[in-house]
């Protein structure tokens, strides 16, 4: 039997034959929607995995899921966790942070590369 030489990662996402309709006025927005829904899916997958893990641990008597509900972090735990949240949010909200920085900084720090190219190539 012949083995298949396939890039299964790229090929899984292959486009269906036929022109794709776009629904939103701005296709860029529709692409972001598509990426967002994929990420929502992956979050659900991670959540389900965690749920499986908890249920297995519980069934083996290693933990009780009520312990999760009644868990109170120690001072140190709390600090570590809140730091994690802060880092996480900063990472995903980066574009907005940078947008604001652009508003705040002086015009000469917002120089466009194109302008620089022009400036330094003009005789």
């Amino acid at each position: 039997m012949k083995k298949l030489n396939v890039d299964y990662i790229a090929d899984a996402g292959k486009k269906a034959k036929g022109k794709r309709p776009w629904f939103l006025d701005n296709p860029e927005v529709e692409k972001v929607l598509s990426i967002t829904m994929a990420i929502a899916g992956e979050l659900a997958v991670a959540r389900e995995r965690l749920d499986t893990l908890e249920r297995i641990l519980e069934s083996k008597g290693i933990m009780n899921r009520d312990e999760i509900e009644s868990f109170i972090p120690s001072e140190n735990d709390a600090n570590e966790r809140q730091t994690w949240h802060a880092e996480y949010l900063a990472r995903i909200m980066r574009i907005i942070q940078q947008d604001r920085e652009a508003l705040e900084t002086a015009p000469d720090m917002n120089e466009a590369v194109e302008d620089l190219v022009k400036e330094f190539t003009e005789e």
Binding site: M1, K14, K17, G18, M37, G41
Partner: protein, 400 residues
Amino acid sequence: MKKSEYSGQLPPTYDKVIRHDIFPEPTHDETARFNFIASLNQHLAGVAAGNKIVYEKRLKPNFNKENGRDFENRHEVHRALKKDPYWKTWSALRRNTMEMRQQAGRSVVLRQIDELNEKAEILNKGKSTLQLNSEIKSPRYASAVDIHLQVGGYDTELVEGDISVGANYDSGIFVTTTGGVGPGIDGGGRAVATAVKQKFPDFKPKRILDVGCTIGHNVLPIAKAYPDAEVIAIDTGAPVLRYGHARAQALGVNNVTFIQADVENLDYEDGYFDWIQTTMFLHELSSKSIRKIMSELGRMLKPGGLLLQVEQPNYTPKMDLLEQAIRDWDCWYNNEPFWSKMHGMDTKEIMRMGGFKDEDYMEFQAAANTDNGDVTKPAKSVSEDYGREALWTVFGAWKS
């Protein structure tokens, strides 16, 4: 507590799907991904229901103001919907979900494709119940676009002996129908087999033909209900037949012969079959081929024989125009080029093309999910996902 329109009946989890020997084995996370997509489909059925409010509150009054009359047909409603932001968002999400389902199925299948192809080869080897013919090509109406976004259609072979498109079909249909077709994805076939047994207890078909069987999922319940019958299932696609045959073997159903053939050119003699069945087949045909195929089916059926066709309901003047326009969505946005035309036809007219008489015409509903075991009486779901629900119209006739 009130049940949310957005959750409806919670879809069954993907682990309920029957894992036969050729089934593309999913990992824990792949299973979870299917669960997510099924839930998303269920949720979107609730979102789709909002189109009704859009229609009543925005589209109808606006249309009336501009034109001094009401909508007259589904195409006018579709044109109005297309401009509405609510419909656009729902449509963008629905299209994207169909694409996600394809990606999810293909990623499960392709990472293990060598093993799957090998398993199929072992199950199929030397069996006279699988007859392939490499001369047969998919007709252009079936291959010009990838129907319902199924990448590779029904016939793409990535390698010799490939079954990937069949395996992908099997892996994902449970999700697209939010589990409505049951663990064996055979709810349609089970409903038909049960209805025929209940309605016509004296019918003892000897030869049964299933046309456009794909992976044969809906013909297996019929073959099981009539174990002494010779059942022939034809399709133009070799990969789906290879997979379907291996699947039938794995499920222990041995009285179905899977044959690669084009129904437009079959050489069975006149009146060869006692029962000819098509399931979700007609809507994928061009109008020209429907005419030709109907006349062939009429020819091959024995006088006193039964023709039954399972479809989503056709549009009748009684069906609300919005429902028609929403049902048409699959045509324009899910690569079902003939869906709108076919569903706009009069089913009696389709039967006449096969030489059937109006007085012999019959029609009933068949449901995969029932309250009381009578498959012609569907259980009510909270919100319907038009075009996807496990409730079909069965129409046909006894040939006189």
